[in-house]
């Protein structure tokens, strides 16, 4: 049976992300009360796993690292059709950069045991580094393919996928186990269903902390992070703005006038 691990992240709702601001005086984040949601590209990762499960004999394990409240996105993945859910949650894990996050997730995957393919969203909407997927692969010493936009072949050990490049794409052959990070083009994620939510009642989320993972506290979280945020500044890219007013027609005419005067059209 094919065992698929999907790594997911709880991110502040991207539609409300604007509310998060840096306090210019204290240089700390003003978080507001933005709910945590499933990272948009992780939905594509989940969908990739679900589609494989529809074709092959497969089991889907969802793994996330985050605060206890991130349990809701693991639950959401169970409701979408994942078989098992794991949440790595411990105060010691907090403040992790991409490196420490990938390390912790890799330890979680090792503890889960056997796996054939690991799906991650290409990037998270809140930090957008794109590092976690590849670094998980590096820690597990398995190959990775980033920006997968089509899964061509999944027969046997060598899979064939198509992945985006800046100006085109590449066709890659990869031997599983492997990490695949996926783009939005890969699929159209399904939406939650009521019966899926009810089905998920039967599936418990396993919570693992630092003791269960058997890792030292200086290898995870803030302590295990090579990079730190050493400063936060609010910056302003301000320009002197002129708001153009009037009826629609007047506004359009005035704007054209201004742009002609500036010599740009």
């Amino acid at each position: 049976m094919l065992k698929i691990v999907v790594c997911v992240k709880a991110v502040p709702d991207p539609k409300q992300e604007r509310k998060i601001r840096i306090n210019p005086v204290t240089k700390t984040l003003i978080r507001g009360d933005i709910p945590l949601v499933l990272n948009p590209l992780d939905k594509n990762a989940m969908e990739a796993a679900l589609q494989l499960k529809e074709q092959l004999d497969a089991q889907i394990v969802v793994l996330s690292m985050g605060p206890p409240s991130a349990g809701n996105i693991v639950k959401e993945c169970l409701a979408l059709g994942a078989d098992q859910g794991f949440l790595l949650s411990d105060l010691a894990f907090s403040g992790a950069d991409a490196y420490a996050t990938a390390y912790t997730l890799a330890k979680g995957i090792e503890k889960i045991g056997s796996y054939h393919v690991i799906f991650c969203g290409m990037a998270s909407s809140d930090s957008s580094t794109e590092w976690v997927g590849p670094e998980i692969g590096a820690f597990l010493k398995i190959p990775i393919v980033t920006r997968v936009k089509e899964i061509i072949e999944t027969e046997g050990e060598w899979w064939k996928v198509k992945a985006s490049l800046d100006n085109g794409f590449r066709v890659v052959q990869v031997k599983i186990p492997a990490v695949l990070t996926v783009t939005r083009e890969l699929n159209n994620p399904r939406t939650l269903s009521f019966s899926g939510i009810i089905e998920a009642r039967k599936r418990e989320i396993t919570h693992w902390g630092i003791n269960e993972l058997c890792v030292s506290d200086d290898s995870v979280g803030l302590k295990g992070s090579p990079t730190i945020v050493s400063n936060m500044a609010s910056i302003e890219l301000k320009r002197e703005v002129e708001i153009i007013t009037g009826t629609r027609e007047e506004k359009a005419e005035q704007l054209i006038q201004k742009l002609v005067e500036a010599g740009v059209i």
Binding site: R18, E130, W131, I144, N167, V241, I256
Partner: protein
């Protein structure tokens, strides 16, 4: 040049023997950093049938080029590229490693960083050295700028997008040392790039367009996006986007402008239905004239542009297009 600390490295990238612009820009900036800490700039270049590219790298500011030149390295192959760079870095212990934020760079950089057990800052918009000669990488987030450092681990690594740093004026008098690299020997073979297809980007390339029209979440849906695309077409402009527009599926990742997308310097920028998030705006600070069209008068974008129109984009743009056509027919 003998130095007290490790060198500043740039992992250069080539396609068909042509060195990418972002690599040259990184070398130019690496030169400045290296001078500050009195060390050398060293470039790793992997490819096949390379001949004379090193001179270009020296002219941009490199002191030394580690040159891998054999058929196995023709295009990026994950395992062998990673292996070569990791071994080389373990041997020579660079202080700083810079990599372009290209699709390849974004895959290679985290693999190298994880294997060197060091930190990697993503898609910086500036790199400076502080008084302790620690690399400070600037990353926009949450309407501000984060300074990211890697105090303990070495090398300090960062990826940088094209256009963040200027292309250095080539100095043909500069020379340096070419260090040929041996084949790395036994490397696991579990992944292979079978084929690379380059697609002509549709429309005008963002990086060189004199006019850029960018759309954001305010487009609302595919139809709304089409209205913005129509404006770009009429103005003969390149069409750019913000991350929310890409996430909604209205446009391709390649059109994204900003910190994790492209950096552009047009004469005219028109932002439609976008809120002026710093991650996007850092991609267009170089624009001469900036216009924002947004129906939310409170949107922060109206503090960052020269001209603002508070209106619904779907209502306003068709009128705007008509008026542009009228103007042109009167003036040609």
């Amino acid at each position: 040049m003998k130095s007290s600390c490790g060198a500043v490295w740039v992992i250069a990238e080539q396609i068909g023997g042509r060195i990418l612009m972002e690599s040259l820009q990184l070398i130019g900036h690496a030169r400045k950093l290296a001078d500050e800490i009195k060390t050398s700039v060293e470039v790793v270049l992997l490819g096949d049938k390379l001949n004379g590219q090193s001179r270009q790298l020296f002219a941009a500011g490199a002191n030394k080029v580690y040159l891998g030149n054999n058929p196995e390295l023709t295009c990026y192959q994950q395992e062998i590229y990673t292996e070569i760079i990791v071994r080389l870095a373990k041997e020579h212990k660079p202080e700083i490693v810079l990599i372009g934020s290209t699709s390849t760079g974004r895959e290679l950089a985290p693999l190298v960083a994880a294997r060197l057990e060091t930190g990697l800052t993503a898609h910086c918009i500036d790199l400076v050295l502080n008084e302790d000669k620690l690399l400070e990488a600037m990353v926009p987030a949450y309407g501000g700028l984060l300074t990211i450092t890697c105090p303990e681990k070495r090398p300090q690594m960062a990826t940088v997008a094209k256009g963040v740093f200027p292309t250095p004026e080539p100095d043909e008098n500069r020379t340096g040392e070419v260090v040929p690299l041996d084949a790395p020997g036994e490397v696991p073979h579990r992944i292979e790039t079978l084929e690379v297809i380059y697609e002509e980007p549709e429309g005008i390339p963002l990086e060189s367009a004199p006019i850029v029209v960018a759309g954001g979440a305010g487009a609302g849906d595919h139809e709304g996006w089409q209205v913005i695309a129509d404006l770009a077409e009429v103005l003969n402009a390149a069409l750019g986007s913000t991350r929310p527009a890409v996430d909604e599926g209205w446009t391709e990742l390649e059109t994204m402008i900003g910190q994790s997308g492209k950096i552009v310097n047009p004469e005219l920028y028109i932002g439609v239905g976008l809120s002026g998030e710093l991650q996007h705006m850092v991609g267009i600070v170089g624009a001469q004239v900036m216009v924002a069209i947004n129906n939310d008068a409170k949107s922060p974008v109206f503090e960052q542009v020269d001209y603002g129109v508070v209106d619904d984009c779907r209502g306003f743009i068709p009128v705007f297009i008509e008026k542009i056509k009228e103007y042109w027919s009167r003036n040609t």
